[in-house]
Symmetry: C2
Subunit: 190 residues, 2 copies
């Protein structure tokens, strides 16, 4: 395999460092050290920490495997469950840390940086729209109540997921995830 370009290495290291440490606690030197690059080289590829954080958000989104929500062969609710099951795995595997980069940036940076906030908002909007589409299909397939408002439910489920990540990280346990799955698939979408 060809060695990743220096820019690619720095961009990927930025994603990992922002996810690990948060926005403010990540220094340019953390990123370049993780990429095995000299500190000054960061600015050959990015004009600012903010620019690399925006690219980190895009890269993070690309790794969320939204294709699971639309892949054929499973019912809409089975796809939705597989989606959250996929997202839960790395959090459990990392000892209940890191959570969701979109939510982390919302909590830490959104109030203070309009460009970052707009990117976080776009991320949430696109994600909620995909979930709403799955819920509309589930309604048409008779998997959920005919009276379910797909947009309301999608926004709510996405919010519940983001909060579940926060609480699970504080709890360092699967209990908040268990409650999420029980309540979403046993009560909200019954």
């Amino acid at each position: 395999m060809a060695r990743a370009s220096k820019r690619e290495q720095i961009a990927q290291a930025a994603l990992e460092q922002f996810h690990l440490r948060g926005f403010h606690a990540t220094g340019i030197n953390d990123i370049t050290a993780a990429a095995g690059a000299p500190k000054g080289s960061f600015y050959n590829h990015f004009s600012s920490k903010e620019e690399s954080a925006l690219e980190a958000l895009d890269r993070y989104g690309a790794g969320l495997r939204f294709d699971i929500l639309t892949a054929p062969g499973r019912s809409p609710l089975e796809r939705l469950r597989a989606h959250f099951d996929f997202l839960r795995r790395p959090v459990v595997d990392s000892g209940f840390s890191q959570g969701c980069l979109v939510g982390n940036f919302a909590a830490e940076v959104g109030d203070h940086n309009e460009v970052m906030r707009a990117a976080v908002r776009r991320g949430f909007d696109q994600w909620a729209a995909l979930i709403a589409q799955v819920l509309t299909e589930a309604r048409e397939a008779g998997e959920v109540s005919a009276g379910l408002d797909a947009d309301d439910a999608a926004r709510f489920i996405l919010s519940a997921w983001e909060g579940t990540l926060l609480v699970a990280r504080a709890d360092k346990s699967s209990v908040p995830f268990d409650s999420f799955f029980h309540m979403v698939f046993g009560v909200v979408l019954h």
Copy 2:
């Protein structure tokens, strides 16, 4: 009214600055400047930024008016709705910023500071236990389904609230709050 002690002014300023800026972005000088105190005076009252952040968490919790959840004169679900309605107000009034200090510290600091994480966890646990108590009363009063698991539902609703705050701050709109109230009181607790 007696003038607040210097310690009280610094502790209150610390709460406001941490809530406004986050943990890492708050410097000791931000706190002392907001309190109108010389920078060095911080260390007459607190041994570290962490110590003042732990006290800020306690002060924040004391302002959440948990008494609304237990005050007589309203049904359990009316009390739960009044609780979240009370918590929504300052977020709307501040232009959808700041959110919940407990959730913010969970997102930004919990992975990296065991003392802070334990304090955040205690905060979430106590809060979820209060909500579970209200849901148990609602079940006994026939306000919610007899099959509702109060602990699962309480954890889930608290997580959903924390996530709703993140999404509303990104969205800068009431729409995520509307979805929370519709879904919690119209679907989860019906």
